[in-house]
Subunit: 463 residues, 2 copies
Amino acid sequence: MITTRVDLNERQLAELKALVDGRLSTSESVLEQHGHDESAAVPGRPSAVVMVNNVEEVSKVLAYCNKELIPVVAFGAGTSLEGHVVPLYGGISLDLSNMNKIIEIRPDDLLVRVEAGVQRNALNDKLANHGLFFSVDPGADATLGGMAATCAAGTTTVRYGTMRENVMALTAVLADGTIIRTGRETRKQSAGYDLTRLLVGSEGTLAVITEITLRVFGIPEKMAAAVVCFPSLADGVLAATTIVRTGIPIARCEFLDAKSIRNLNAYDHMTLSELPTLFFEFHGSPTGVEEDAQAVKEIIEEFNGSEFKWTTDEGERRKLWHARHNAHWANFAANPGKRGLSTDMAVPISRLAEAVDVAMRILDQHPYEYSVLGHVADGNFHCAIMSDPLKPEELIEVRHITHEITLEIIEMGGTCTGEHGIGSGKITALVEETGQAAVDVMRGIKLSMDPHWILNPGKVMSN
Amino acid sequence: MITTRVDLNERQLAELKALVDGRLSTSESVLEQHGHDESAAVPGRPSAVVMVNNVEEVSKVLAYCNKELIPVVAFGAGTSLEGHVVPLYGGISLDLSNMNKIIEIRPDDLLVRVEAGVQRNALNDKLANHGLFFSVDPGADATLGGMAATCAAGTTTVRYGTMRENVMALTAVLADGTIIRTGRETRKQSAGYDLTRLLVGSEGTLAVITEITLRVFGIPEKMAAAVVCFPSLADGVLAATTIVRTGIPIARCEFLDAKSIRNLNAYDHMTLSELPTLFFEFHGSPTGVEEDAQAVKEIIEEFNGSEFKWTTDEGERRKLWHARHNAHWANFAANPGKRGLSTDMAVPISRLAEAVDVAMRILDQHPYEYSVLGHVADGNFHCAIMSDPLKPEELIEVRHITHEITLEIIEMGGTCTGEHGIGSGKITALVEETGQAAVDVMRGIKLSMDPHWILNPGKVMSN
């Protein structure tokens, strides 16, 4: 069991280096780059970074690290918001970004096979040539391996699902170097335990994912986006939840509070009204989109929403969603020198207005700047809370505050994380949410698959 | 580890009986009823049947059986097609049919909480009062616990998904009696390992499911069904796969060969043309249904399909699907005294025509009557193969034949089971499909959760 920091000795560095044709680095800048992600988590340093080019190398490296009790943290694009790639116990950062081959695009089966290091935008660029797209859209240009490992979701979940629903099959390497294949290229499978879904969301603690078969969709005949503002945050949230309950097949429905809109306007040179706002997107046939939009408009009027501002032009539509994805960075830009922690709670949709209220009531009792946005159609919302990285006690206090909110959210039937994962910051929250007995089952599974606990120690569960 | 048949002694019978207020039976008719399901599997006999009324009783019974090394097979409605409920090693059959309470219907959150013994039709009757329906429809009036345990699917998967996508949360009891809760009532959750999806499809070998939170849908504004015949089986299958690839959001698309139609006509007094046939269903707004149907019609013409025979009348629509669900029984009725084994292979949709061809080519080399039907939109098809129960060597030969087909299907990227599960008949096929390394991971998980292997021994994996 890994319990203290592991620094590789000269022999280990040399032996590992030989396994990957010399692609091992201990240069300070490389270690630094692999020691942090986009979260507020305190950065760390791996002892070495190993670049792998194929599954056989991953297998050899893991078998070696397992024998030598060297911690291994898989690294893709470093876009985690929960500190997943921070090597809390040293060891190696296993960089899969060279494994960026799109192996096969199969339009007839609406599926694609990719290496784990392929990034989302590169995949969508290639798919567009076939009239296809990959739906899961967390904003960041993450790797597909990282997205699978955290069970990422994002703006289109309401219509197309999360990684859980869109990963069909995996190749993965166990701690001891064994290569396994899970799932099939079929729409349905009922053959044995669902190891695919076990690995999706396991945050690199059970195996290293090296190849992924993903479900893709045909690009809809028509896509149209619209922006609507509301006099109050509660109105906007209630309008969104009502729309979801009616079953209108919206493709996206995103909420931003007035502060997020103000920051976006400044960051992206937009001219949106600085009010609580919903961004919508509709996919379908021209008449289908028209019908869906009309049904949404009627509900919006009930909740004092503004007129629809349509962006049917493709360039405008892309710009709008680009801006939405920039909200994270816009909040940083508005708070220079600050570090943002993003909460990720989700509740049953009927409790969403109340949940946002709870979060704001608690946050308003403290001096930290925050803004609220979220995937309201899924009952999932984020509070971006700013603290001073030069005053570490602030981050500690912010974590206490978010834990206080989390406990109320769990009480409401909610979860501490809808799409970012547990990482190292919500280990206690996971126990509060699912109970010690279920966490003990997870621990048993972990021990059966990674008995020396070398894979991403300090994440999901305490060692 | 359970390796031989376990018959309970008088002390054990008395002690177990005391745990459940006397609801233990050893009467021959009760043992017989709990020794078989709707599969071709050779029936067995439990040593006793224990009726449980609540999760606490399940917990007490399992803790006792774990201590005494008594095998436990959970029993719901006995509708498995893979011998799941056959107690291969004696012990007890744990009957959950008394646990048939619909605990909570939450229209605002589009979810429902049920005890594991609730049956599908009873749930849908109750949901209809709220304008809701539960989508997963395997035909049989199975319990929701059984459907979760086998990862059941059925006719509506193409639109609404399988149990995997529709189970949100579970309460389950581990072999040692520990009660765990998995998942949440939220649309998204990324909190720790996905124990919900691990238990869905685990066939009663990892835990006994006692309560299920399910996703439900609003009853569509309009539902319309249509029947189309084709001059050849290949035309019908190719038409269906083309429709799926275009992304038309059909709600159901079922294929039946000429023999299945003939049997249905005889069994259900229908007057369908005795040709390869597709049954369709469309869900949506009136214009949406019209648009989808028009798009489907155009494709059907390309593949020499007949005119659409519409059944917009609600009674007629129900009658059509009732008939489809009767296909299983109609095939029996047409082969009096015979026992039917249903295959359950699925392939990537582009290989479906070829896969059906492979199956028929192999089956045609043997004297056993068979018919073909399936959920073609999912690439999943069933061959119902008849054998004589008085000649057990016939069933053994049929299993050899289906294994031969399975090997070719796996070669094509397919699975040995799309929705029925592994049970005891496909243990070797599972290894062929996913590889020994992945099965070893499953074995490790099994041992971590059920170290004495008391839960449904002899299913999914060999002991």
